[in-house]
Amino acid sequence: MTTVSATEHTRRDFLYIATGAVGAVGAAAVLVPLVTQMNPDASTIAAGAPIEVDLAPITEGQVIKVFWRGKPIFVGHRTKKEIDEARKADLSKLKDPQADQKRVKEGKDQWLVLVGICTHLGCIPLAHAGKYDGFFCPCHGSQYDSSGRIVEGPAPYNLPLPPYEFLSDTKIRIG
């Protein structure tokens, strides 16, 4: 009997470990539905489909707000002055340097399309406000220029650009 006990022990240990491992796999698998249920559901994803915006009614100097995936999107029709300011800005002075040309579609310099969410902590900046003829976030004082680039204040990045394309001269599709 004494000789059996060694192998008997390893056999038993193996059984215990196998049982524990299979049980652990099961417990982990149970977490999958419990965790993924909090991701956006199918209807939310479907509701986040691209939207179309008609640019015709937006007059020069006006900024409108539309919603895409629950986020405010600014669509601005920039004046000549605003475009010039944005082009002339000294990039080396900016926190997040990026040429204005990169922030609009080629040949559509007047149309500025931005995600209207401050890159600091998510407030919505005010259009036509602040020191740089662009956007001003009232929450903690971030100043964006007429290209939506951060110039002053706590925000680390420029206002992001949503994916969009021009369907015609007066129509864009966001998303």
Binding site: T19, V22, P33, L34, T36, M38, A46, A49
Partner: protein, 684 residues
Amino acid sequence: MSGQSTYQPQNPVMKWIERRLPIGGLIHSSFVAYPTPRNLNYWWTFGGILSFLLGAQIITGIVLVMHYTPHADMAFKSVEHIMRDVNYGWLLRYLHSNGASMFFVAVYIHMFRGMYYGSYKEPRELLWILGVILYLLMMATGFLGYTLPWGQMSFWGATVITNFFSAIPGVGEAVVTWLWGGYSVGNPTLQRFFSLHYLLPFVIAGVVVLHIWALHVVGQNNPTGIEPQTEKDVVRFTPYATSKDSFMMVAFCIVYAWFVFYTPNFLGHADNYVPANPAVTPTHIVPEWYYLPFYAILRAIPSKLLGVTALVGSIVILAFLPWLDTSKVRSARYRPLYRQFFWLFVLVCIGLGWLGAKPAEGGYVTAARILTFYYFAHFIIILPLLGKFEKAKPLPKSISESVLGKAGAAVAVLAIALSVLMLPKAAIAQGHEHDTPAPPQLKWSFSGPFGKYDQAQLQRGFKIYREVCATCHSLEYISFRNLAEPGGPGYSSAQAATVAAEYKIKDGPNDAGDMFERPGRLADAFPKPFANDAIARATYGGSVPPDLSVMAKARTYERGFPQFVFDMFTQYQEQGPDYIAALIKGYEDAPKGMQMPSGMSYNKYFSGHMIGMPPPLQAGQVTFDDGSPTTIDQYSQDISAFLMWTAEPHLNERKRLGFQVMIFLIVLSGLLYFTKKKVWADAH
């Protein structure tokens, strides 16, 4: 909590904590070193199973609340949203709804075990009473939860049960109005029920702590009913009880998973897939199966006040059991007479459950009265007298040998659980025998454990819906995007978008403040064929053509005994599509002497035979690209399959996942069984 705690943490962090909060020692003495009688059989594992189920219900419940809307106008829709759109929503909801039934299966086994072995006797009276309180809380929680989907059974169940309180003399009406928060069951009722349904499980958890605390003070009873006397009579909780409990827990999960994945609506009522309608009561109102014995007692008594009193009394009397049973001997094993009366009592309870599902008429009422009388007599007459006259068999000196669970125990547990589940349902099935014939059972690609929808069939069914049904029937819960989702008719996104664009969707207001029409998009739901119900009623001769989204789950027919029992094993879940297919083909000339009002047609399978819908499909009416025959037989089957998909869009996924879960549980329970055997090997 007793148990000789030898807990000496080695880890310095644990030591530091232990000096300030001896939680490790508490856990160690309660769940590791705690001495448990060595002769406990498998019936003793249900306490652990119940704790597990409570946890599972709380977790799935908390998750469901993240997606559910407790409002009379939105509750039903939000439940459908959970079933269709939420990731694994169907699984979580089926786990929760079937979990409630499993909870009651386990609690009934647990209670009957306590009765059989006299676990309520001195010094365990308080332990037992806490158990009765837990049972009452469970009943309340289950009832409140059943109202939340706000289907027909939810609504009318809530109405009937709350009306119990109107039996209170004098203030009854005022109490009921107070409970409802209105003059009928309505939105305020739903919202408070939701609040309480969320609260009570935590109250239950609190009382469970007291229950376990009391248990650990007085110690567990055991099959012999005599207290352990020496070290030899007990084993440590871990690993002995733990390994045994874990094995049974996983084995129990196999039954649970069977219901969840293969017959998820078996224990529910088809009527609860019809949205609540305060103007129409379902023809046969029955509570959930676990309340049926008490429902039978209520209906057995022809007076409202006495009926309600008897119902309450039948539960409250359990709390007095420790004093009503006058025998000094605990276990039925040594009480030959009590043992027989015990089993008779079990049969009476099952019989009452069966009668609770029967219509309250004729012989059923008489039978219910006899059984109700016996139910009370068991407690008030038989138990007190038995203690005086029964000659108990000689008790053993000690728990000399551990009587481990016989191989048959698990099977017996299962058999009892299933019979408790099924008898009442069988009764419902037999309850209303009309002259309506049973629809023929058709072959469906989606039946059985490996069933799947046939894409081509769903596409044909969809074509029939669009070209014929859609003129009158809406498909509110279905969006165009669903057509391209996996497990469905298998259209591509582009095809579904083309279908959507063919529909006009009302949208707005636009910038000018006007409503306008635009082509449909993938995210849109199928538009209704009529602007509102009033117009529909005026157009279609007084009744609104019902929405078809969940129709295949909202319709059923009587299966009868014993077919019904087999259905659970064969997984026959296609009553709905069978019924719909039969209905479409069931149009006939009215028999002589039957007056059909104008606008009504005679249908063999429709309850009452007078149906407002004219024969919907004619042969040749819809043509198929795949060359399938254009016969009514083909049409009726295709449209029924399509409607099954709209009602249960994740069926393919459910059965696929179910198979994996089953295999996993079988492997794990096998491993646990051998682990348990190994652990216990050195206890002998």
